[in-house]
C-alpha cells in the first residue's frame, strides 16, 4: 500500500456508493438483479475500504485528500477517528437498510430512482463524515438535503409532497444559515482543516461578538437537521416517507448529519477552550435539554407509530448535543457513542414499524394489539430497541446514558442528570405502552391489510434479517461495550485525541 494510493482512500469510499448510484439511475425498472448486484457490490466495496481505513486510523494514520475549491478553503476529505465513527456507522447501516429496502420495495414502481437517490444520500453522508473543513462540510450538507428530498417525496402522494416541501423549507433555510455562518467565520479565520482544539482561539479576544454570531448561525443551521427545538418541525412530517427512508433519515443520514456537524463545530472548529471563553456551551446545552424533554413530551400523544418514533428521534438526537455541549471528556464519550447507539436503535425501531406496516398494514399504535403473537421476531426486536431507548441495561442505550450521566456529574451539571432521568421516564412512558400492546393485549380484530410475504417466516426474510442484525447489535454493543471493537472504545479513542491536543 503506497501512501499515494492511501490518500485517495477517502475519495474511493465516497465513490463506492456514488458510482453505483449513478449507474442505477440509468437502469431500467426491470433490471432488478443487476440493480441489486450493483447495490450490494457498492456496499461490500465500501465496507472493505472502510475496514482498511479503520485499521490505519487506529494505528494513528490520518487520511487527507484535497482539491482546490474556494480561496482559503479547499475541498478536503479527511479520515480521522471522529469521521470514521460516522463513516462506519453509515456504511454498516447502509448495508442493513439496502437489504431492507430491497425487500420493502419489492414490486413497487420507480425503484431505480429510489435506489439511485438512496446511494447518493449515503455518499453525501459519508462525504459529510469525511469532510475535512467547514466548507466541504457545508457542501456535503447541502448535497445531503438534495439527495434526501426525492426520497422523502418518493411516494408522491399529497402528504408526501407536503412533507417534502416542509422538509425543504426547513433544511434549505438551515443550509443558508450555515452558509452565512461559515462565510462569516471564513472571513475571520479562513477555513482551515478541522483540528482538535479548534482554530479560532487566535481571534477570540478580538472578535468575540462575531464569533458568537457565527456560532449561533451555524448552530441554527445544523440545528435544523439535528432537530433542535424550534427547528424540528420537519422531522415528524417527513415520516411519510417509506420505512427504509425514515430509517435512514432518522438513524444515519439527516439528523445525524446535524449532530455530527455540531460535534465538529464544538470540538474541531471552536474547541473547548474557546467555547468556554465565549460562553457558548451553556445556551446550547440548555437548548438541547429542552429539546430532549419537549420531544419526549410530544411523543407521548402521537398515535401513529412512525410519528411517535419521529418525536423520539427529536429527543434522542439532542442527547448527542447535550453530551457535546457539556464539554467534558466523559460527556463527550456519551454524546459520541450515542451517535452510534441511537442510530442502531432507531433504525431497528423503524425497521420494525416498517414490518408492521408492510406485513399487517398497521400504522397506528392502537392497531398493534397482540402483534407479538403474529410477528414475534419483529416484536422482540422492537422491544429490545425500545428498552434500549429508555436506557435499560444491558442494551446499548444504557451505555450512552451512563456516560452522559457520568459526564453530567463530572462537569457539575446535575441539572442535566435530572433531565436524563426525567426523559428516561418519558421514554418509558411512550415506549412501554407499545410493548405492552404487543405482548399483553389480545388481538383486537383482523389486521388492517395483511399480506403473506413468506411461507415459513412471519414476513419477508429481507425485512427480517436487517432488523434482527441491528437488534442483536444493540445488545452486543451494550454488553461488550468495553471491548476493543465496540463503539464505546472507539469514542474513547476519539475523546482521548480530542482532549489531549495540548
Amino acid at each position: 500500500m503506497s501512501p499515494f494510493w492511501l490518500s485517495y482512500l477517502p475519495l474511493a469510499i465516497i465513490l463506492s456508493s456514488l458510482l453505483p448510484g449513478l449507474i442505477i439511475f440509468t437502469l431500467k425498472e426491470q433490471q432488478v438483479k443487476l440493480r441489486i448486484a450493483l447495490n450490494l457490490l457498492g456496499v461490500t466495496v465500501k465496507l472493505v475500504l472502510v475496514l482498511i481505513m479503520w485499521q490505519a486510523v487506529k494505528a494513528g494514520a490520518v487520511f487527507y485528500f484535497s482539491v482546490p475549491f474556494l480561496p482559503g478553503a479547499e475541498l478536503v476529505l479527511q479520515g480521522d477517528a471522529l469521521s470514521l465513527l460516522f463513516v462506519v456507522l453509515s456504511s454498516v447501516l447502509w448495508l442493513a437498510t439496502t437489504i431492507y429496502a430491497i425487500g420493502y420495495l419489492e414490486n413497487s414502481p420507480l425503484r431505480s430512482r429510489f435506489f439511485g437517490y438512496f446511494s447518493l444520500c449515503v455518499s453525501a453522508t459519508v462525504g459529510l463524515a469525511l469532510s475535512g473543513n467547514l466548507v466541504s462540510f457545508l457542501l456535503f450538507y447541502e448535497l445531503l438535503t438534495l439527495a434526501t428530498f426525492p426520497l422523502v417525496v418518493h411516494r408522491g402522494t399529497p402528504e408526501a409532497l407536503a412533507a417534502g416541501r416542509r422538509y425543504l423549507a426547513y433544511t434549505l433555510s438551515g443550509g443558508l444559515l450555515l452558509l452565512t455562518g461559515v462565510a462569516l467565520l471564513h472571513s475571520l479565520v479562513q477555513s482551515p482543516q478541522f483540528i482538535p482544539g479548534g482554530y479560532v482561539s487566535a481571534v477570540v479576544s478580538e472578535h468575540a461578538g462575531l464569533l458568537q454570531l457565527a456560532f449561533g448561525l451555524m448552530i441554527a443551521g445544523l440545528g435544523v437537521k439535528a432537530a433542535l427545538l424550534p427547528l424540528h418541525g420537519w422531522l415528524p412530517q417527513a415520516m411519510v416517507a417509506p420505512a427504509p427512508v425514515s430509517a435512514l433519515l432518522h438513524a444515519v443520514a439527516v439528523v445525524k448529519a446535524g449532530a455530527f456537524g455540531i460535534i465538529r463545530l464544538v470540538y474541531d472548529v471552536f474547541g473547548v477552550d474557546s467555547m468556554q471563553q465565549l460562553q457558548l456551551a451553556e445556551p446550547l446545552m440548555l437548548l438541547a435539554a429542552t429539546t430532549i424533554l419537549y420531544g419526549s413530551w410530544r411523543a407521548l400523544a402521537q398515535q401513529d407509530i412512525k410519528k411517535r418514533l419521529a418525536y423520539s428521534t427529536i429527543s434522542q438526537v439532542s442527547y448527542i448535543t447535550v453530551g457535546v455541549a457539556m464539554l467534558g471528556p466523559l460527556a463527550a464519550v456519551g454524546g459520541l457513542v450515542h451517535l452510534v447507539h441511537q442510530g442502531v436503535m432507531k433504525i431497528t425501531l423503524f425497521f420494525c414499524a416498517g414490518n408492521y406496516a408492510e406485513t399487517l398494514g398497521v400504522h397506528k399504535i392502537n392497531e398493534l394489539n397482540g402483534a407479538g403473537r403474529r410477528m414475534p421476531l419483529t416484536s422482540v426486536a422492537f422491544t429490545v430497541a425500545a428498552l434500549g431507548m429508555i436506557g435499560i441495561p444491558p442494551t446499548a442505550g444504557f451505555i450512552s446514558k451512563w456516560y452522559l450521566g457520568l459526564g453530567a456529574v463530572a462537569t457539575d451539571n446535575s441539572l442535566m442528570l435530572l433531565v436524563f432521568v426525567f426523559s428516561g421516564l418519558l421514554n418509558a412512558a411512550y415506549f412501554l405502552p407499545i410493548v405492552y400492546r404487543l405482548w399483553f393485549l389480545p388481538q383486537g380484530g383482523n389486521w388492517p391489510k395483511e399480506q403473506r410475504l413468506s411461507a415459513t417466516l412471519e414476513t419477508h426474510w429481507m425485512l427480517l434479517l436487517p432488523m434482527l442484525f441491528t437488534a442483536v447489535l444493540i445488545i452486543l454493543m451494550g454488553v461488550f461495550a468495553s471491548t476493543g471493537v465496540s463503539p464505546l472504545s472507539w469514542t474513547q479513542l476519539i475523546v482521548e485525541r480530542e482532549f489531549s491536543y495540548d
Partner: protein, 512 residues
C-alpha cells in the same frame, strides 16, 4: 468468582464472595425453585403458559444476577431485568385488576429504576470510574446519593411510604409469582440497600434514627392497614410491608458501627421472612382455589406462627436478637432502647393480630368455595408438598444454621419466652373480645380501593394523552390580498414603465 472485567467494564464480575451474598443466593434461589415447582402444577391450566415461564425465567435470572454481582452495574442490570420482567408476572392473568396493578407496578418500577440510575451515576463518578463494591465502599457518600438510593431501592423493598404497589400487585399476580415477589424480590431491594450504602459512613449515620422510625412506622402501618382488608393476599402483602419495616430497622442498624453484629440478624430475618412469606403466599394460592381438608390448616399456621415469633421458631430468635441489638448499638438519646423494645413488643402484638385476621379470612374464603369444589387430587398434593418443603426449611433453619442457632438458644430462657408470648396472648384475647362483642367498623371502611390506583390512572392519562396543546395554526387567507395587489398592477406596461422612469428621474434627482 468469575472475573469479567477484561470483557465488560472495569470491576465486572460475578461470584458469591461474601456471606451475605451466599445466604441471599441460597434462600432466593431456593424460593424461586420451589415456586417454579409449585407453578408446574399450579399454572398448568392457565393460558399463555409460555409467556409466564419466559418472564418467570427472566426475573429469576435477573434476581440471581443481582445477587451474584460483584459490581454495581451488574447489580443494576440484574435489578432491571428482574423488575421489568416481573411486570409480566403481575399482569399475567390479564384481567382488569391485574392490568391496573401492573400499570402501577411498572410506573413505580421504572421510576425506581431511574432513581437508582441517578444514584449510580453519582456514586460512580464519585468513585472515579470504578464499579466494584470494594472500591465503592471506600468512597464517602453524600445526602443526595443516599436519598436517591433509598428511594430507588426502597420502591422495590416496599416499606412505607414506598409500599403502594405491593397491596395491588401481590393479589393480582398468580400465587407463585406473589411468593417470589414478596419473598425474593423485596429482599433484592434490601440487599441493594446494604450493598450500596456501606456501614460506617459518617453521612449515613445521620439517617439511621430516621430510618428506624420509618421502619417502626412501616411495621405498624402495615398491620393496621391489613386489618381493613379481607382478601388474604392483600393481607399478606400488608404483612410484607410490616415485616419489611423491621428489615429496614435492621438495615439502618447495619449502617452504624455495629454492622458486624447486625448483619447476621439481618440475613436471618431476610431469609426467614422470605421462606415464611413464600409458604404463606403459596398456601393462599391453594386455599383460594379449592376446598381443603382441615389438617391442611397446619400449612398455614406453621409459617404464620413463625412470623408471629412464637417461641422455638426462627422468628422468636430474630426478634429477640433485634431487641438485643437496640441496647448494644449507640443511638441518639431520644431513641431510648427501652422504648424501642416496647415498640417491638407492640409490633409482635400487631403481627399476631394480623395473622389471626388472616386466618379468619382464609376460613371465610374456604367457606365461600362451597363444599363440592373438588377432592384432593394429585395437583393439590403436589402444591401442598411444595409448601411443606418450605415449612420444613423454616423449622429446620433456626436449629441448623449456625448464626441463628445461637440466637435460638438464647430464646429458650423463660423471661424471654414470656416476653415473646404475652403479645400473642394479648392478641388472642383482643380478638376474642372483638368477636364476642362483634365490634366492627362501618362496612365502607373495609376493602377500600386504594387511591393510589386513581393516581396511577391519572398518571397514565398524563403520559398517554389523546391530544396535546399545539401551537394554533395561523390560517390567514392571503389570496384576496394578492388579488387586490394583482389588480393594482398596470395592464399597460409600456406607459407605466415610461411614467415610472420619469418619476424615478424626478425622485432620484430630488434625492441627490
Amino acid at each position: 468468582m468469575i472475573d469479567l472485567s477484561a470483557w465488560l467494564w472495569p470491576g465486572a464480575g460475578l461470584g458469591l464472595v461474601t456471606e451475605l451474598q451466599q445466604l441471599w443466593w441460597y434462600f432466593s434461589s431456593g424460593l424461586w425453585l420451589v415456586a417454579a415447582v409449585f407453578s408446574l402444577s399450579f399454572m398448568a391450566k392457565t393460558p399463555q403458559k409460555g409467556r409466564y415461564w419466559l418472564f418467570f425465567g427472566l426475573s429469576f435470572a435477573g434476581n440471581m444476577l443481582l445477587i451474584a454481582a460483584l459490581d454495581a452495574i451488574s447489580f443494576y442490570i440484574g435489578f432491571s431485568v428482574m423488575s421489568l420482567s416481573a411486570y409480566g408476572l403481575v399482569v399475567h392473568s390479564g384481567d382488569k385488576s391485574a392490568r391496573r396493578a401492573g400499570r402501577l407496578y411498572l410506573q413505580l418500577a421504572v421510576m425506581g429504576e431511574l432513581l437508582l440510575f441517578a444514584a449510580l451515576i453519582l456514586r460512580a463518578s464519585a468513585a472515579d470510574g470504578q464499579y466494584d463494591w470494594q472500591s465503592w465502599q471506600q468512597v464517602p457518600l453524600d445526602h443526595l446519593t443516599i436519598l436517591l438510593t433509598i428511594a430507588g431501592l426502597g420502591l422495590k423493598a416496599g416499606f412505607w411510604p414506598l409500599h403502594i404497589w405491593l397491596p395491588q400487585a401481590h393479589p393480582a399476580a398468580p400465587a407463585p409469582a406473589s411468593a417470589v415477589l414478596s419473598g425474593a424480590m423485596i429482599k433484592a431491594g434490601v440487599l441493594g440497600l446494604v450493598l450500596f450504602l456501606p456501614g460506617g459512613d459518617p453521612q449515613l449515620q445521620l439517617w439511621v434514627p430516621y430510618m428506624i422510625c420509618l421502619g417502626f412506622f412501616s411495621a405498624g402501618f402495615g398491620v393496621l392497614a391489613s386489618l381493613l382488608y379481607r382478601q388474604p393476599k392483600v393481607i399478606l402483602a400488608y404483612s410484607s410491608v410490616s415485616q419489611v419495616g423491621y428489615v429496614v430497622i435492621l438495615v439502618a442498624l447495619a449502617w452504624t458501627d455495629n454492622a458486624a453484629a447486625v448483619l447476621p440478624v439481618l440475613m436471618a430475618y431476610a431469609a426467614h421472612h422470605a421462606v415464611a412469606k413464600g409458604a404463606l403466599f403459596l398456601f393462599s394460592g391453594i386455599n383460594a382455589r379449592q376446598r381443603l381438608p382441615a389438617y391442611w390448616q397446619l400449612l398455614f399456621w406453621l409459617p404464620a406462627l413463625a412470623l408471629m415469633a412464637i417461641p422455638l421458631s426462627g422468628g422468636a430468635a430474630i426478634k429477640t436478637a433485634l431487641k438485643g441489638l437496640f441496647s448494644t448499638t449507640t443511638l441518639p438519646g431520644w431513641l431510648d432502647s427501652g422504648m424501642l423494645a416496647g415498640l417491638l413488643s407492640l409490633g409482635a402484638l400487631l403481627t399476631a393480630l394480623l395473622f389471626l385476621h388472616l386466618a379468619a379470612m382464609l376460613r371465610q374464603q374456604q367457606r365461600r368455595l362451597g363444599p363440592g369444589t373438588g377432592r384432593p387430587d394429585f395437583a393439590m398434593h403436589w402444591q401442598g408438598a411444595c409448601v411443606l418443603l418450605l415449612i420444613l426449611v423454616l423449622i429446620w433453619l433456626p436449629w441448623q444454621w449456625q448464626p441463628l442457632l445461637q440466637l435460638s438458644l438464647t430464646t429458650l430462657a423463660w423471661p424471654t419466652i414470656w416476653t415473646l408470648c404475652w403479645p400473642l396472648v394479648l392478641a388472642l384475647l383482643l380478638v376474642a373480645l372483638v368477636r364476642w362483642q362483634q365490634w366492627q367498623l362501618p362496612p365502607h371502611y373495609y376493602d377500600r380501593n386504594s387511591s393510589v390506583l386513581l393516581w396511577s390512572l391519572w398518571l397514565k392519562r398524563l403520559y398517554q394523552p389523546q391530544q396535546q396543546w399545539q401551537m394554533a395554526q395561523l390560517q390567514l387567507n392571503w389570496r384576496p390580498v394578492e388579488r387586490a395587489l394583482n389588480r393594482l398592477a398596470p395592464d399597460n406596461v409600456v406607459g407605466a414603465s415610461a411614467l415610472l422612469i420619469v418619476v424615478l428621474l424626478v425622485v432620484a434627482s430630488a434625492f441627490w
